[in-house]
Amino acid sequence: MSQEKQEHGHGCDCGCHGEQPNPFVELNPVLDHYADIPGSLITVLQKAQELYGFLSIELMRYIAIETHNSIAKVYGVATFYTQFRFEPVGKYLIMLCQGTACHVNGSKMIEEAVMDFLEIKEGETTPDGLFTLNNVACLGCCSLSPVMMINDDTYGQLTKDKVTHILAELKEAVNNEATVSETVSQEVTA
């Protein structure tokens, strides 16, 4: 390991002086890359969220120490922007568009259908960790409204039935996967 990487702290202030393993070691190349580029805090936070799914307090503290910012500054910037999340999200992140065109074409109804089907509210994650529902401002696919994105896929011209069908299919796909991997692991064990 290079001398440079060893210089990174391990992200805690428990007083163990780096004896515990650094839980955020994957972020170090990003920190190194942006160390000399001023104004990169948002980019670093974005990369961190890509790696870990969300920004935990520990992660933000680590970023603060490594980028020579106060934790208040990092937290202040992160909470200003809607892209940043502070809790883990489900396997499928549903981004339900609440832009003007979607609103006019009944996005509230779609939201209700999602909430009914998954039994969660906006901002929550299903207990099985599969789905998180987030309302977002315009996704820019207004002529297909109402629209939602699930991870990187966009679904347009939604109706209550269509949205329930999409979610049911995703759920089933995961269940099938689970059964397959169970069978495989059983075979391996056998």
């Binding site: 001023p38 104004g39 990169s40 805090l41 948002i42 980019t43 936070l45 974005q46 202040g76 910037v77 200003f80 922007y81 809607t82 892209q83 940043f84 609440q98 832009g99 003007t100 065109a101 979607c102 609103h103 006019v104 074409n105 977002v136 401002a137 315009c138 996704l139 820019g140 696919c141 207004c142 002529s143 297909l144 409204s145 629209v147 990187d152 966009t154 679904y155 347009g156 209550k160």
Partner: protein
């Protein structure tokens, strides 16, 4: 012969990838010598997925609303057979609709492959940049833009030449050219379309602007919600660099210019110049007082010029065709064309680019095909959360910066959300206030607290708890917020409320005094009853009612207890006999 598929975000959402896969499978299966290529968005989103079959002579036949199942027919019947498949082809009326437009910004969208610089070069790409760098002085570049009369297409409509001139004259060696691609207005997506369909037009426009002001570094601030746009733009930047259109000693003139992308993180206020600069610097995106303007002290306190995507996309065309040609289009005060995102309750939604000076009626009815299900037109919302609602009586208003402003709305970035009789105008105002209230950065008290108070009042009105005096209180708050806010967000946030009060005051009064929503949109103001003539007593409503408000024996007429009913609408949606009446 080749097959070209429209793969902008809209096309992909409508299933373009599935169509592409289906074509590739069939072509492989039959061993045909047929290439499958992609292009961006032509703008007729309601026809997606769109597939062009281009023969070797360049003749193009367009198939619309293509499904994966249609692909086999297109190959077997059209490509290999004699059947023209008229039923899958684009209709005459849709061709006319596209023909009525004047496409400058969208000149290459849906025509070239956005991922191949060769395609852009084939349509004279980068020739304008070459001319500006090798033949024109910065003063001449600015003069041409002045003759063209190009105004900022992002919202404020400030003359572009003036900004460029100010940045050019500002002392300092280091200057920056910034593109605002943080298209935050809900209901506007022309910038996304340009980024996805013709990214080199933006790069070329920025390069020309950079030469004019003397900037060697450029940044494009793109919304994180546009992942495809970011990918295509990065690809275009890499290609331009390889071809020598970005980097050092461009066109051997000694002029250097390079570009990078900065992904935004989601904040509407970052559309404001100074907030965008703060965000570029890695800070909270909060605006600051002007002056100093970005042209004097912008990014890292250096002279900075910021324009939006559509503005830059106009620039190469102006230099290839002349400032006069651009100024010949449009009205006296508003030159050229403008792209509108036509959405909502309109039949043919999508992107339309028209010369300034047409009327709203032309756009919504002649190009947009009128209202879905032929319902009555009620209003068109222009300018997003900073704009306003223009009623039917003003449909003959010309599309011109000053004329639109007179109505109380603004041209804005070009969102046009059409509303019909089922849209409640009070709810629309509430919707926008909810948006601006969430997006207020919190710096100015009037904006932060004022929008919150306004939202509370609007929530109360749409929930049937409006009080006498609420309209007047709203108006008072509107004017105070306008006066007490530092940036454009707060200064324009009251516009949707002011225009709806101005043109639809009766709807506010119905909500407040008669507890009625004539558009039947505000649920708490509705009553659900059962039509005794139609009800067959199937029991579906009773079974689905979450609060047991419905009583009735099997095969006998049911009844809704109004005291228990929470107006959730479940009974209405489950009734197969249309016997639940909403009033």
């Amino acid at each position: 012969m080749k097959i070209v598929i429209g793969e902008g975000s809209c096309g992909i959402a409508a299933g373009a990838h599935k169509v592409q896969n289906a074509f590739e499978e069939i072509i492989a299966e039959k061993g045909l010598d047929l290439s499958v290529e992609k292009t961006g968005c032509i703008g007729t989103c309601y026809l997606e997925p769109i597939v062009d079959v281009v023969d070797d002579g360049g003749k193009k036949i367009t198939f619309v609303n293509v499904t994966a199942d249609d692909t086999r027919r297109i190959i077997e019947d059209y490509v290999l057979g004699e059947n023209e498949l008229k039923e899958l082809q684009i209709s005459e009326s849709d061709i006319t609709m596209i023909g009525k437009q004047k496409r400058i910004v969208l000149r290459n969208s849906g025509i070239i492959d956005p991922e191949r610089i060769e395609d852009y070069l084939a349509v004279d790409g980068y020739l304008a940049a070459k001319k500006c760098l090798t033949e024109l002085t910065p003063e001449e570049i600015i003069e041409t833009i002045k003759i063209a009369g190009l105004k900022g297409r992002g919202g404020a409509g400030f003359p572009t030449w003036f900004k460029w001139d100010a940045a050019k004259k500002s002392p300092g060696k280091t200057k920056y050219m910034v593109c605002n691609a943080d298209e935050g207005d809900p209901g506007a997506f022309m910038d996304r379309s340009v980024l996805e369909s013709d990214p080199h037009a933006l790069i070329e426009g920025m390069l020309i602007g950079a030469k004019a002001i003397g900037a060697n570094e450029g940044v494009i601030y793109v919304r994180a919600e546009y992942p495809l746009a970011i990918v295509r733009l990065q690809n275009a930047i890499d290609q331009a660099r390889k071809k020598g259109f970005l980097g050092h000693n461009l066109f051997e003139t000694g002029f250097d210019f390079d570009l990078r992308i900065k992904a935004g993180a989601g904040a509407f206020v970052c559309g404001e110049e100074t907030a965008l600069i703060a965000s570029l610097e890695g800070e909270r995106g909060m605006p600051r007082l002007k002056p100093p303007f970005p042209a004097q002290k912008g990014y890292w306190n250096k002279p900075t010029n910021i324009n939006n995507v559509e503005t830059f996309a106009n620039v190469p065309w102006i230099f290839r065709n002349g400032g006069d040609a651009y100024a010949a289009l449009g009205t006296k005060e508003s030159k050229g064309t403008k792209v509108f995102a036509l959405t909502g309750k309109v039949k043919k939604g999508g992107l339309v680019e028209i010369p300034m000076g047409l009327t709203l009626h032309d756009v919504i009815f002649d190009i947009g095909g009128g209202i879905k299900q032929d319902k009555a037109f009620k209003a068109v919302q222009m300018g997003g959360p900073s704009g306003g609602c223009i009623p039917a009586s003003l449909l003959d208003t010309q599309i011109d910066y000053a004329e639109i402003t007179k109505t109380g709305a603004i041209m804005g970035s070009g969102g046009m959300v059409v509303m019909d009789e089922t849209t409640c105008m009070v709810d629309m105002a509430r919707f926008f206030l909810d948006f601006t209230c969430k997006e207020s950065c919190g710096k100015c008290t009037y904006c932060r607290v004022g929008t919150t108070r306004m939202l509370e009042i609007l929530n109360r009105i749409t929930h049937g708890k409006g009080q006498d005096g609420d309209i007047e209180l709203l108006e008072e708050l509107c004017y105070k917020i306008k006066d007490g806010s530092m940036c454009g967000l707060g200064q324009t946030a009251p516009n949707p409320v002011l225009t709806t009060i101005k043109y639809f005051r009766n709807e506010y009064e119905d909500h407040i005094y008669h507890k009625k929503c004539t558009a039947k949109s505000c649920k708490p103001l509705l009553t659900y009853t059962i039509d005794v003539e139609k009800c067959v007593g199937c029991g579906a409503c009773k079974k689905n009612c979450p609060v047991d408000a419905i009583a009735g024996e099997k095969k006998k007429v049911h009844d809704i207890n109004q005291d228990t009913c929470i107006k959730c609408g479940k009974c209405f949606s489950v009734c197969k006999f249309d016997s639940v009446i909403i009033d």
